[in-house]
């Protein structure tokens, strides 16, 4: 049981150099992997490839030795760095959550989502509050793996600790695999069972 990128190559345009060249990453179920790399290395690109938003030019993304399913909710869910760009600005937040399944009271409580927020529009909440919705909808979908692309970089440290504690608790309960992209070594030590540095 693992999510794996096997010798993948990727570039955005044929005229441009490879962004990822022969890149391989593997995370087991229940494992938490933190990825470091310098700015401009292609961390976000790798995250999008793993979650199935992009297709590699060469190589494969494998979930339990099979390609990612093309239909239904993807068992690999991506959480972005900027929640305000990942939520439909014209939907009330209730609708955002309902898109990924039935609203459950216990989920709202676990993520510290206040009931009053559900009737608001995304621009009426702060980044930290919105990020809770992004994490909640990713976990509600029944995902087996989540990819966290610098999900707490733009947040203050209290919000960061709140969000990560919820993610770690849920992931532990459901034995999920996590890949976290981050710049912060201290944070990586806290959240991950293993870290890799792609630049080496």
């Amino acid at each position: 049981m693992a999510l794996e990128a096997k010798n993948i190559y990727f570039r955005y345009d044929r005229k441009q150099p490879w962004i990822l060249e022969d890149c391989s990453v593997r995370v087991e179920k229940g494992e938490r992997l933190a990825i470091f790399a310098p700015s401009g290395y292609g961390k976000t690109t790798l995250a999008m490839l793993l979650a199935g938003y992009l297709e590699p030019a060469k190589g494969q993304i494998l979930l339990d030795e099979k390609p990612l399913p093309k239909r239904g909710i993807c068992p690999v869910q991506l959480i972005y760095q900027h929640p305000e760009k990942a939520i439909n600005p014209r939907w009330r937040l209730k609708r955002v959550l309902e898109e990924s399944g039935q609203l459950r009271e216990d989920v709202l409580d676990a993520f510290g989502i206040e009931r009053a927020w559900l009737d608001r529009f995304p621009r009426e909440l702060s980044g930290g509050e919105l990020q809770r919705f992004c994490v909640a909808r990713a976990l509600m979908s029944g995902a087996e793996y989540i990819i966290c692309d610098e999900i707490s970089t733009m947040m203050d440290v209290i919000t960061q600790a709140q969000i990560w504690n919820v993610v770690l608790k849920e992931a532990g309960k459901r034995n999920m695999g996590i890949i976290a992209v981050t710049h912060n070594k201290h944070l990586a030590e806290r959240i991950a069972t293993r870290t890799i540095d792609l630049s080496i």
Binding site: P38, S39, G40, G112, E114, S126, G127, G128, E129, T153, M154, M155, D156, V157, I158, T159, Q160, A161, Q162, W164, N165, H183, N184, H186, L187, E189, R190, I191
Partner: protein, 311 residues
Amino acid sequence: MEQKKETLLEIHDLSVSFRMYDHGLEQKDLKAISDLHLTVHSGEIVAIAGSSGSGKSLLASAILDILPDNATVQGHMHYKGQELTRERQKQLRGTKIALVPQSVAYLDPLMKIGPQADGHYKPKPTEKRRKLFERFQLPEHTEKLYPFQLSGGMARRVLVSTALITDAELIIADEPTPGMSLEQALEALRMFREMADEGKAVILITHDMDLAFEFADRVAVFYAGTTVETALASDFKTGPEALRHPYSKALWKALPQNGFEPIPGFQPYAGSLPKGCLFAPRCPYKTEQCEKQVPPVREIRGGEVRCYHGA
């Protein structure tokens, strides 16, 4: 440090509110910053830390008078002992007070990086700019690129250069380091430190608290649009026992290297601020008094704190 430095910027009881539509044509004022105090001396770096949405960037805009039209500013701001009026702000911004904007979207998308970083100054500071780019490890051809061709980290370094190029006495750097590698972030902060040591001053708005403690002289902690504590950076290095406000202690304890323990609850929304102390709903030490009245600023052990119980 050795002696009392000259006060460069002094902000007293600053409030910023926004006129907004409520129901139909009714309007209401949303108070985003209330009763804020901040003093910056020449020769120092003051870091501003605190929760997202606590008004850190708004303060920068208020100092430079670049707030949107529906904003009202109240209170007093003094620059070098003289009241900061609108005309004075217009004169000073870009020459004596420079901003490192928070968003890389502040770069003009239709202008090449070189001329854009040089700005309107005469004579053109091209030589100085090239040296800065070199220190920031920006390749020589960067000046010929357009902003969309830069990575996030490169754009940040260009933004920081645009402020360092001026002869400003005060730089307000709003989140200058995200996206930079640690080495580049350190270089940027080292340059700010050099500036401060030359007698200038820097206001450093940041979430990156480790870096703030390392390079700043003092740290101002913001919560829900006001300063709850101003302390020496060394107090933050010492730990929660040296800090005065429960929110600053909570920030320290939430750092990944110090426990990673968050306090429950959320910062109040600007439309529904509590009547008394803004932190009271989340505070473990609150009493009746805290819920009734906003605590005044008190001086304790060389720092300023807005709390009845701070010790």
